[in-house]
Symmetry: C2
Subunit: 473 residues, 2 copies
C-alpha cells in the first residue's frame, strides 16, 4: 500500500486501534473459526437450533466486546441479535447490519474440506458462510471491540443488527425494525453484507438488484404411469413445464413476459461509460467460470446484464425419474423454482403478477398449474453518487489501499436496504471485504485472509471518518 500515490489517502484510524487489532488477530481468528463451525443454515428447518446457537454465540461476543443493550430478539422465524454503544450523544449514529445465517452446503460431496470447519489453503479460509457473511460481520464487530478495548469509547454511536434470515429473504426483519424504530434510529446503515467486485482493487457498490421468486407445479395424472401403456394419451408434465419455461425468454435473451420490464429505466450514459472502462474481460470470466460463452440479453455488455438489467432465472427444475439407469414412467408432475433479479423501480409483486399471468396463459391443455410465491421479494436499491456515506466509504478505501476505488453495481440482492429506507428513513452503504469470486452459495466458499486484515484497518478508518462526513453531509 503506497498512500502517497493518491491525494487525501491519509488514514484517520488511530494508531492505538490499529495496534490493538494486530494484537487481537489470533484471538479474533479463533473466534471466527468457532462462529463458522456452527451450521446456521436458515433455509433448513432442521438447523433451527444451530441458527439459535449462532445467535447466542454472537450475543456473547458483543457483550464481551463492551457493547450494551445486547439482546436476542425472537421472531416468528430465526432470532435477530441487537447491541448498541451510545457514548457520544452529540455524534451521529450508524447502524451496522450483517447476517449470521448461511446457505445450505449442498452438494456436500463437492467440498474439498468440511464445509463447517475453517480450512486455510493458500491465504484463503474455506468454509460455508465465511464470505457470506460471517467474516465481514466479524470484521465490523472486532474493529468496534478494538476501539472499546483501547479507549473505552468510539467516536460515534453504533447500533448492531445481525439477523439470521438473510438467506431466506429477511421475512421478519422489517416488522422488527418497525417495532424497534426508536431504539434503532440511525443516520446511516453500514452493511457488512455485500462484497467487493475484485480481489485486487477496492470497489464500492452503488446499487443492488431486487428479488422476486415463485415456484410452480405442473401436474396431470394423480400418479406416475407406465410410459408404454399411457404414453401418447395424456399430457406429460415435463413437456408442459419445458414449453412454459421456454416461453419465458425470447430469442434476443429478453424476458418475454408482458409487463416484466415495467419500471426499468435505460442505463444512464455516464454509468454505461464508467462500466465500460472497468477492467472486465469476457474471456477471463469464462476461464474463471468454465462456461463456453457469455449469454444474455442482446444489446448489453456482460457487466450491464449482471448489474443493471433484470433477470428471470430458473434455480431448480425437476420431475419424473432422476435416478441411475432408466425407468419408463410418464411422470405425473413437474416442478420449477424461479427467481428474478430486479432493477430501478420494478415492483416485486407486480413482476410476480406478470409472470403468473404469463404462465397461466401459456399453460398447455391436459395439465394443471399451481403457483406459490416466494416470501423474499425486494425492490432494487440505489445510493446516490454524492451521498456523504458513500463518499466516506470511498475515502476509507482510498486511505486503506492508496488507490481510487471503483464504483460498481451488485448483481445480488440485499433486500433489507429497502426496509431500512422505508422504516428507519435511513440510507445504506455497503462496506464488506468479501469478494464476488468467493463461491458464496456454492461449494468451497472462501474468504481471503488478506482482505480480513485490510477490512479491519478500513473499518477503523471509517469509524473515525464518519462523524465528520455525516456532520458535513
Amino acid at each position: 500500500v503506497n498512500q502517497a500515490q493518491t491525494p487525501g489517502a491519509t488514514s484517520l484510524a488511530p494508531e492505538s486501534v490499529l495496534a490493538a487489532l494486530e494484537a487481537r488477530e489470533a484471538d479474533d481468528l479463533a473466534a471466527l473459526r468457532h462462529f463458522v463451525s456452527i451450521p446456521s443454515v436458515s433455509t433448513e428447518p432442521s438447523h433451527a437450533p444451530d441458527v439459535r446457537r449462532a445467535a447466542t454465540y454472537l450475543s456473547e461476543r458483543l457483550r464481551s466486546a463492551g457493547l450494551h443493550e445486547v439482546e436476542i430478539v425472537d421472531t416468528p422465524g430465526h432470532p435477530v441479535v441487537l447491541a448498541a454503544w451510545r457514548g457520544q450523544p452529540s455524534a451521529p449514529t450508524i447502524l451496522v447490519y450483517g447476517h449470521y445465517d448461511v446457505q445450505p452446503p449442498d452438494p456436500v460431496d463437492a467440498w474439498h474440506s468440511p464445509p463447517f470447519e475453517v480450512t486455510e489453503r493458500g491465504g484463503r479460509l474455506y468454509a460455508r458462510g465465511i464470505s457470506d457473511d460471517k467474516a465481514p460481520l466479524s470484521i465490523a464487530l472486532d474493529t468496534v471491540a478494538a476501539y472499546l478495548q483501547v479507549s473505552g469509547a468510539l467516536p460515534l454511536n453504533v447500533v448492531f443488527v445481525f439477523e439470521g434470515e438473510e438467506e431466506v429473504g429477511s421475512p421478519n426483519l422489517p416488522a422488527l425494525l418497525d417495532a424497534r424504530r426508536e431504539q434503532l434510529a440511525a443516520d446511516l446503515v453500514v452493511s457488512a453484507d455485500g462484497g467487493m467486485w475484485l480481489p485486487d482493487h477496492p470497489t464500492t457498490i452503488r446499487s443492488a438488484r431486487g428479488l422476486a421468486s415463485l415456484e410452480l407445479r405442473v401436474s396431470a395424472a394423480t400418479k406416475d404411469l407406465h410410459s408404454g401403456r399411457h404414453g401418447g394419451g395424456l399430457a406429460n408434465p415435463l413437456h408442459a413445464i419445458a414449453s412454459m419455461i421456454a416461453s419465458l425468454h425470447d430469442a434476443a435473451g429478453r424476458v418475454a413476459v408482458e409487463g416484466f420490464y415495467e419500471g426499468v429505466r435505460p442505463i444512464p450514459a455516464a454509468l454505461a461509460q464508467t462500466t465500460r472502462e472497468l477492467p472486465f474481460d469476457d474471456a477471463a470470466y469464462l476461464a474463471e467460470t468454465g462456461a463456453p460463452a457469455t449469454v444474455g440479453e442482446v444489446g448489453f455488455s456482460t457487466l450491464e446484464r449482471q448489474w443493471y438489467r433484470p433477470t428471470l432465472e430458473l434455480n431448480g427444475l425437476w420431475g419424473g425419474y432422476t435416478g441411475a439407469g432408466s425407468k419408463t414412467v410418464l411422470p405425473h408432475e413437474a416442478h420449477a423454482k424461479i427467481s428474478c433479479r430486479l432493477v430501478d423501480d420494478q415492483d416485486p409483486e407486480r413482476v410476480l403478477d406478470a409472470i403468473e399471468r404469463h404462465l397461466q396463459r401459456v399453460c398447455p391443455p391436459g395439465v394443471r398449474l399451481d403457483v406459490a410465491r416466494g416470501v423474499n421479494g425486494a425492490r432494487a436499491y440505489v445510493v446516490a453518487d454524492d451521498h456523504p456515506g458513500l463518499q466516506a466509504v470511498q475515502a476509507s478505501l482510498r486511505a486503506t489501499y492508496g488507490v481510487e476505488p471503483w464504483l460498481v453495481g451488485m448483481g445480488g440482492s440485499v433486500p433489507i436496504c429497502a426496509a431500512f429506507k422505508r422504516v428507519l428513513a435511513c440510507d445504506t452503504v455497503f462496506f464488506s471485504f468479501a469478494v464476488g469470486d468467493e463461491d458464496i452459495h456454492a461449494p468451497n466458499e472462501f474468504f481471503r485472509l488478506r482482505r480480513w486484515r485490510e477490512g479491519r484497518r478500513a473499518w477503523a478508518d471509517l469509524v473515525a471518518r464518519l462523524p465528520g462526513a455525516l456532520a458535513h453531509g
Copy 2:
C-alpha cells in the same frame, strides 16, 4: 362363463388337468407369495443378489415341476433360467417366455402395503412385480406342472426362457439366444409377459411398440454459481434444456424431429375401424388416471395414439436446487431422460440419430450438450392377424371366457420379440393374464386373483390346442 354363447368355444383342456390345477391352488399361491417376496429389482445393482435368489428359486420350482435341462445361465448381467420338456418328438415345440425381475418399488411411501409382501384386498393381490411378470409367468409354469403331475407328459414340447433383465431392456438375452439357438429352437414363442387390455373381457395383443432411449446433459459453468452475481451473464442450463425439450414437439402434438416418423405407416383402415369399436371412453380413462384431459397427436384417437403411433416422452428432468425453500443458484447443469415408443418399421438407432441431430441443432449458445444412448433399443413387433399361433390364442380365450376376444395393440414394449424373430426365426404370441390397469411400474401394483384362475384354465387349453393349430398352420 357361458360357453354356449360362442360357437367353437369348447375347451380342449383335459378335465384331469383342470382338476389338478384346482387341487394345487393353495400350494401354487403359496409359491407365488414366496416368489414375489424376493425383491428382484434388476435396475438397481444393490439388488443383484436378490435377482439371483429369484433365479435360483425359479429353477427349483421348474425342477420340482418335472422339467428337464433346468439351468441358471450366467450373463454379463443377471442370469437367465432355462428348462425344457421334450417328450413328444413328433409334436411342435413352444418356447415360453417370461421375466422374473421387477421394477424398483419407488416411491415406497406411496404403497398401502409392503411392496415385497403379497397382500390380498378385494380379490386383488398387491405386490411389486406380481402383475409384471411374476404371476403371469407362474401361471404358465404351474399349468405345465399340472400336466406333468397328472400324466407325466405334455401334448407338445416346451422350452422355458425366464430372464432377469426385462426391466433393463434385456441387454444380454439376444446373445444367449444366439449361443443356444439349437437348444432353444421352437415353432412359436408364447410370452407370459404382455397383458390384457381390460379386466372384464379377454383381449389378444396384435402388436407391441418398440423402444429407444437416451439421456442428455446440458452444462455451462463448471459449478453452480450465485444467481445474483452471475445471473444474466451466462447461459442457464435449465432454460437451455427447457427450450430444447419444448422444440421436440409441435403445436399439433407431433414429434418435431426431422426423420422421426421414417418407417411409420398409416394405420390400416380395418384396424382403425376395429379400434373405434372398442369400448373405450375418454371420460372414464380420465377418471381412472386423474388427468384433466387427454392430450396428444392431433388427428388420432387416444387408443390410436397409445397403441399405433410413436411417442417421444420425457421420463425424467432435473437440475439445480430441488429441496425445500429457495436457493438462488445459477445451476451449472441440467439432465433429461427421454424414451420413445416406436411402431411399424421405425429403427431405434435411426430414431436416436434423428433426435441427437435435432438436439445438436437446437442447442442454444453458451451451453454444452452431451448425449448418452440407452441400451434398451427395440423395434416394434406385429403378429399377422391370420397367424396360427394367434388364432390358437384367440380360440383358447374363446373357450375359457365364452365370448369373442378383442384384438388390441400394446403401448408398451417387449423388446425380445424382435430377438426371437431374428435369432430363432420364431414368431411370438402374447398370453398373459395381467391387465393393463394393474399399476405396473407404479406404487400398489396388483394382480387379479380371478385372472390367475382363468389364466390357468386358458393355459391348459392352449397347451392342448397348439399341437393341432401349429400342425395345420
